[in-house]
Symmetry: C2
Subunit: 318 residues, 2 copies
């Protein structure tokens, strides 16, 4: 008899579970020592809540009706639910707030991709500390947590989630042409991006900026080549250097995060052992305001299962 589980889900047996528990306890300990208190929110939210956070509805891969006919959805990340908590249950708490979480999130996945539909996220949210100060703390704490988990080769990619939109604004690119350009960028298709930009009939300087800036990737010198458009990242680099954690950072001006609530720098965590990002995050200064309490915020979510893969690969190298 065969009794399959849904594609993109996993059973975890005791040997692996022991390692995963050790990893999550370690991450929780690191976050806790840094003053981040853990919260839990329900896996099921009203779909309207998730759409308040992200109008694209990316946050509602699995929907169902409850007994009252309300549409519920399985959360696809913890950031939107925590924004709701900060605006409601924690509405009186004095910022900055430092919160962390460990919980499963759910995303619809194509049957043939390696993406999981259920995955364990562990992450942090730093609320009420605007600008580079907040972002530097989040990146530094992420690096610290991964160091202490035994990773040696991880890198944090840092981009600016607003940069490409600003370039499109400067170039007066019409709204209807933008989606396919952003699509090329999210799928890292720089050849396709160049072809589509060429069809816009822009002047050579503008065309060059639209094509070349998103392809810039590397150390801090990348920022020098990009000019004034990336001042926010330059300030962030200075703070990271002061904290002594700038070495692991790769500036990536083509980095685009899929979720719709980012308003500034965005992050992704990589490790050579794993073919996917170990996690990601960024600044989202408007999200909590959508729930009624305008507060700057940024955060980072790690995919605990992928961090565990990187950890295991690191141990094999020793």
């Amino acid at each position: 008899m065969s009794h399959p589980i849904p594609p993109g889900t996993r059973d975890v047996l005791p040997d692996e579970m022991r390692e995963l528990r050790e990893l999550t306890e370690g991450l929780r300990g690191t976050f806790g020592e840094a003053g981040y208190g853990e919260v839990w929110t329900p896996a099921l939210e009203y779909e309207t809540t998730l759409r308040t956070g992200d109008a694209s509805g990316a946050g509602a891969g699995y929907r169902l009706f409850d007994e009252q006919g309300e549409v519920l959805a399985l959360r696809s990340d913890m950031t939107i639910p925590i924004a709701r908590v900060v605006a409601t249950r924690l509405g009186e708490a004095e910022p900055p707030l430092r919160l962390c979480y460990f919980g499963h999130a759910y995303r619809a996945a194509e049957r043939r991709t390696a993406e999981l539909r259920e995955f364990l996220q562990g992450g942090i949210e730093l609320i009420g500390l605007p600008g580079a100060q907040g972002e530097a703390e989040v990146i530094a704490l992420t690096e610290d947590a991964l160091d202490r988990a035994g990773l040696r080769r991880h890198r944090v990619g840092v981009g600016d989630g607003t940069l490409f939109d600003r370039l499109l604004d400067d170039a007066d690119v019409p709204e209807e042409a933008r989606e396919s350009l952003v699509g090329c960028l999210s799928s890292r298709d720089l050849v396709g991006l160049e072809r589509r930009v060429d069809q816009l009939g822009l002047d050579p300087t503008t065309r060059e900026r639209l094509v070349s800036l998103p392809s810039l990737r590397g150390g801090v010198d990348v920022l020098d080549r990009a000019g004034g458009a990336v001042d926010a990242l330059r300030e962030l680099h200075e703070l990271l250097a002061e904290r002594g954690v700038a070495d692991r950072v790769i500036f990536d001006l083509g980095l685009v995060r899929q979720l719709g609530y980012y308003t500034g720098p965005v992050f992704e965590v990589y490790d050579p052992a794993v073919g996917f990002a170990l996690g990601g995050g960024g600044r989202y200064d408007e999200l909590i305001g959508r729930f009624g309490r305008p507060l700057a915020a940024c955060g980072m979510a790690l995919d605990v299962g992928r961090v565990h893969l990187a950890q295991a690969a690191e141990e094999r190298l020793r």
Copy 2:
């Protein structure tokens, strides 16, 4: 602005979360020291899997369609998924198997009841150790875990999930009359039970057994008054007494558990601080066989949130 969460779900803030983590770490430690290895299964299962375990479909309160049009359901307990794992992924492992788990389960609840729709379960499954030996280990470990969590006044109710059916068989009660009788018993409506039994026109001795046995509740003397029908519980009592853990047990011959897979003794855990059972379980010798690997088994699931309430009440008493 109001941004409610679905009724029967909860946000947990850092102070409470810290206590809950401490409680679950303690339970996990107790289970682990006793040789119970933790497993994780997906919150989403194919509905057919849950129905294989419990044909009544009690295990599928929340259903949804995935991208392929398959019907998925949120698990309503961990016992059916673990039965699946034991028959499939652990199909070659030599019994007895000792497994534990910590995960949220989901049940549809009436809007006005205090029942949660999402609740954290922590529990154990002892697979391949039949009869009173297995049940005694599960009850003793549950008591140990609650002792170590600081509870002082908890009790374990023990009944026999097959007793009432056997009495109905002996009395030749027709199938169509049984549902309402069992319904009275599950809702502890002994007056209603008596009225319905009186309508069956049974001889006085048979009538008396049907009405009086389910009302027996108390110490081991209850078993003496019930005669040969409860030999299995008498053997269990002897083993619990040998382990020195019989004092907390209340024999309750009217105890009926709602889930359809129990085949012998059933358990419920109580504490005077909490109006609901802290947990429950029992013997389910046919469940794993439904997934293709016939193995005797029994287990216990604790509602971690309710154990936490009892723990907090106990601390206030000190």
